[in-house]
Subunit: 210 residues, 2 copies
DNA sequence: TAGATTGTTAATCGATTAACAATC
DNA sequence: TAGATTGTTAATCGATTAACAATC
């Protein structure tokens, strides 16, 4: 993850916060009302002290004896993660990865809405599950009109930097990038890289040295 | 990343090692013969001291004055990462993510070969780019016959744990898991989770707090 | 040689954990 | 109350960086 400006990040705490939230939703659907730091620790693999420390960092308070109320805790974490309102996202690149994203069911329950996809290839234009696929030329206008701040780049390696540039100048502030290229955003753009080959190479290393 | 047994990991060093290797291949293709810790630092965003420290951890030596020979360095890193020989992988789940993986061009140049895919849905059986798609019933026999140690799980959330179990009992030692579920492998299995929604939620958080 | 770069040690920084007082 | 849990402080652990002797 690259960020432009400086800021105290608590990178790992944020990741764990997402995990706590996911576990909590399961607990909620199972009818649990209260939860203790120990339960969250067991479910996520963190220590109980870590759970409480994370909460402390984000000023989440529980009850000295009775742990945390599940529903309340979910709301607080979602608030911190910016999940209080829906998030509009565009996808650039309607190849196999892009299509997998358009068809992916996991975004909706996290209030993430893919508004449109964009591609250079006219044969891709159309609609998938109600999501329109446009020419990339229409990206800047679309992004501005809908006031979209988030984008996912799923284009080939070679087009990655150019795509990032287009997104950033259109006003996109945060990008999830699937191209295995070192891309650079201007100043304050958040870029998070997902590199499947790298992730598999980590597995190979650990299997080898196990 | 979850591992069963204990072991000094240098988790971040391994990730950087992969990044150095990728940069080095670019340098190589540009005709460079030598490289200095400073060059690698600039290209990857690490510090020069970090680069040399990483090399020191893995006993990679350079020349006191003349930096490192690019070709030699690539070979040494590939050796550490276990890239000295090709790696056979299976993909379980031939939905959109599975299909994106089968069509992905990035594995080949890292000597990663997808040997087959498996699915429960007979309508998926067939072949994609020469990669056969079989019934999941044939997985154990196939894995044993080809002595495959690596797998990628791209099945729906609900089937994730069951799929991991099948892979592990068939002899798979390392798994890249795309399901957003907390899965557990037995004892010594390496499991690395890729959760696209989580990665996007991180971006949302950092954009929000920027 | 003078200058530049490696390899390593010690210092710093940050993140995790242990411990415990405060509290219900 | 006694027991249990939170919230926070101090201790520990690990990773990064600064600095510099060794070397070419």
């Amino acid at each position: 993850m690259c960020r432009g400006g400086g800021m105290k990040t608590h990178r790992n705490s944020v990741i764990r916060l997402v995990q706590y939230k996911n576990i909590l939703k399961k607990f909620e659907s199972m009818g649990f009302l209260k939860i203790f730091s120990n339960n969250l620790a067991d479910a996520t693999g963190a220590s109980a002290a870590q759970v409480r420390k994370d909460f402390s960092i984000f000023s989440i308070e529980g009850n000295k004896k009775g742990g945390y109320l599940v529903k309340e805790l979910i709301l607080k974490i979602e608030d911190i993660l910016g999940k209080d309102k829906a998030h509009k996202v565009i996808v650039v690149g309607a190849g196999h990865i892009g299509m997998a994203l358009l068809n992916y069911k996991g975004f909706e329950k996290e209030k993430i809405k893919i508004m449109a996809a964009f591609d250079v290839d006219p044969s891709k234009y159309g609609e998938v599950l109600g999501i329109p696929i446009f020419s990339i030329d229409r990206l800047p206008e679309f992004v501005r009109r809908h006031n979209i701040k988030l984008g996912i780049s799923a284009v080939p390696d070679i087009s990655a930097q150019q795509t990032i540039d287009i997104m950033v100048s259109a006003g996109i502030k945060g990008i999830l990038n699937f191209a295995p290229t070192q891309v650079k955003g201007k100043n304050e753009t958040i870029i998070n890289n997902v590199d499947v080959v790298l992730e598999l190479e980590k597995v190979i290393y650990y299997v080898k040295t196990r």
